[in-house]
Amino acid sequence: MIFSELYSAYYNTVASVLKTAVRRPLKKNELREVIEQHAFGESVLNIEPALSEERWQLIRSDGSTPLKHPPSMPMTTLEKRWLKAIFADPRIRLFTDETDLLPDVEPLFKASDYSVFDKYLDGDPYEDEAYIKTFRRILDAIEKRYPLSIDATNRRGNIVHMVMMPEYLEYSEKDDKFRLIGSGWRHKRTLNLARIAHCQPYTKPFEANPGKAIQPRMCKVEFELIDRRKALERVLLHFAHFEKQAEKIDADRYRVTVSYDKDDETEMVIRILSFGPMIKVTSPQEFAAQIKERLLSQKSCGH
């Protein structure tokens, strides 16, 4: 059962409370801190009195517990079956070689039971040993915070050399690719992992630019949407993963504002074009001008 109290924030919070209480009596303010850290906004109003009033008979009035061991719960069958399913995914090798932990468990699903039907066809080579080695090296460098010396192939097929402090890995399911986001001498650097030919720790002194520079440059685009051919639902679902606001302005017209990273502006332009006349960009003017420019070019193609 996927919706079960066994996985609830309340059970996890109480487990954290008891983890301390088996060692020593818990003070009231500590109890509150643990609850605020692990549970929801209003949970302290429920968990604290339930424990202190002994409705949940786990903590005594002096903050001690009759429990003798730090709480722990074995994995449920559901958790084991899900793990077994990820062990069959080629991407698991990026993280570990230990994929035979659950020999007698049936996976929750097999690769043939689902498909991501619109991911791009030039995804990363997850089973390639060199790629796996690069991935693990980068992950190690991110965890331990050391710079990397990297040789990568650029768009023209030439090898370029760079040094960067790796910050994190970004995965796109649509592209089926990992990108390394890091800080170079001066700028944010983004690099497709599959383009990396060689990487190793950089051992000379290296001072990357401040982390601030790797933050996305957020912009907003505002458009009017006309709800024909189920456009409202299609558009709002399509842009659901962005920070956005929608407002009804007429019986079948809506104003939608979407925030996006400036680096992805071309992609935003073509995503908006894909909705045809159901969307009209109203601001900023520069964005609308890009749409207009493409339409003008299209018109000159004779259609």
Binding site: I2, E5, Y7, Y10, F40, G41, N46, E54, Q57, L58, P66, L67, P71, S72, M73, P74, T76, T77, L78, E79, W82, I86, T96, L101, E106, F109, S112, Y114, F117, K119, L121, L139, Y168, L169, E170, Y171, E173, K174, D175, L236, H238, A240, H241, E243, K244, Q245, A246, Y254, S259, L273, S274, F275, G276, R294, L296, Q298, K299, C301, G302, H303
Partner: protein, 414 residues
């Protein structure tokens, strides 16, 4: 009933989350199908669970509440929080922690009576000790055995209980990644909750998190597919606000990375066809008997895939297969455009006609599914042909309407 932050079943909150997250433009008065009390309770719950992402906007129609989440900036799907809100009784939680303290290692094997004796000893130190009867404890142990966390073994006439063996998988990086990039990722989130806090090293682009709301349904569908079982499911038609029951044989879950939608491909005996159902429109799933036709039907579906751009298996034109082709042009420094066709095509063929021209051709069940993709090449489409002439006309009229929208419908340029 008094308000509680926790909930008994997921159905109602699933609807509200969808409204607040996907749409977010309705005012309180527009939630007419539910009571005002229900709206206030659900809004308050979501505020408590997802407070950081809840936003409000005052409009002439009233205050709009919406969830706004940039999934690229969150290491984990915030909507998973909703799956961690199942209600329970005071007795449930008390028993849970004490039972696992009694059965603290897999080597501790006890009878129900022995467990009851131990339990009483734990509770005597409280001011008013709870009294559990043995049937309650037996029932709880039975539930835990069904979840796989307790093992119940009969020796002679006596049932013995022990905790299940521990499986140690503590690779936080793998769990961080797969909990976001793998179906039913909420289960990975449950596993992460058991680990210590750690630094997160992954971010996700084009990351649709809406599927999280359908986790229970998708999980049941996977159960059915693994067991080759037919199901009875209830689906909702949101435009008519009508729920209907369907008997189908589930064959595969199809997920769109480009829209975040998840579909069930299933054989519907009533229509004698394989068709798709959006999982967010599935309200409930009940597993039935094993279907002897599963393998044959799955093979049929595999045979259909080369003709499916998306999940549609029928055309609007009445043709069994529709033909679509279009030609694009590009400049010397735009050869990546040809690569776009190659990597983004899901079926069909791409042909390089000359150094600046490429053509895409496909035969599909439903050519209308390609239209949004073809539009992404606007500015370079030199030819297009659809065997479905209505669709072709609509494509042309849409282009003309776009010219009008941006004021370029007069001459060649403004």
């Amino acid at each position: 009933m008094a308000y509680s932050e926790l909930i008994k079943s997921f159905g109602r909150i699933r609807d509200y989350m969808r409204e607040f997250y996907v749409y977010g433009f309705k005012s309180r008065d527009e939630y007419t199908k539910k009571s005002a009390r229900s709206y206030d309770d659900e809004r308050r719950r979501l505020q408590s669970w997802l407070g950081d992402y809840m936003q409000f906007k005052q409009t002439p129609e009233g205050k709009n509440v919406f969830l706004s989440i940039d999934s690229r900036l969150s290491h984990h799907n915030p909507l998973y929080a909703a799956w961690k809100t199942k209600s329970f009784t005071d007795g449930d939680i008390t028993l849970h922690f004490i039972l696992f303290d009694i059965l603290y290692a897999p080597e501790i094997i006890l009878t129900l009576n022995e467990i009851m004796d131990s339990l009483d000893r734990y509770l005597t130190s409280f001011r008013e000790p709870r009294m559990f009867d043995s049937s309650t404890v037996r029932k709880k142990l039975g539930e835990y055995a069904a979840e796989g966390i307790v093992v119940a073994e009969k020796h002679g006439k006596t049932m013995y209980y022990r905790r299940a063996d521990t499986v140690a998988f503590t690779n936080a990086n793998a769990l961080d990644f797969f909990s976001e990039a793998f179906p039913c990722g909420v289960v990975g989130s449950y596993l992460l909750d058991k680990l210590d806090a750690h630094d997160e090293h992954f971010a996700f682009k084009h990351h649709y998190i809406t599927g999280a709301m359908d986790s229970e349904i998708v999980c049941l569908l996977f159960e059915a597919i693994s067991g080759k079982r037919s199901i009875t499911m209830e689906t909702i038609n949101r435009h008519k606000d009508k729920i209907s029951e369907k008997h189908v044989i589930p064959l595969r879950i199809m997920i769109s990375a480009g829209s975040g939608r998840q579909y069930l491909m299933a054989y519907a005996p009533r229509f004698d066809r394989i068709i798709s159902f959006r999982t967010d429109n599935i309200v409930s799933v009940k597993l039935n008997e094993v279907s002897e036709r599963f393998d044959e039907l799955r093979e049929n579906l595999d045979g259909m895939l080369p003709y499916m751009w998306g999940v549609s298996t029928t055309s609007t034109s009445g043709e069994l297969i529709e033909h679509v082709e279009f030609t694009i042009q590009y400049a010397d420094d735009e050869t990546y455009i040809h690569q776009r066709l190659e990597r983004e095509k899901r079926c069909g063929t791409v042909e390089k006609i000359d150094a600046h021209t490429s053509r895409f051709t496909a035969d599909v069940y439903d050519a209308s599914e390609l239209v949004p993709w073809i539009r992404t090449f606007i500015c370079r489409i030199t030819e297009y042909h659809f065997s479905n002439k209505m669709l072709e006309n609509q494509f042309r009229e849409d282009l003309e309407e776009m010219y009008r929208l941006y004021g370029i419908d007069g001459g060649d340029s403004e």
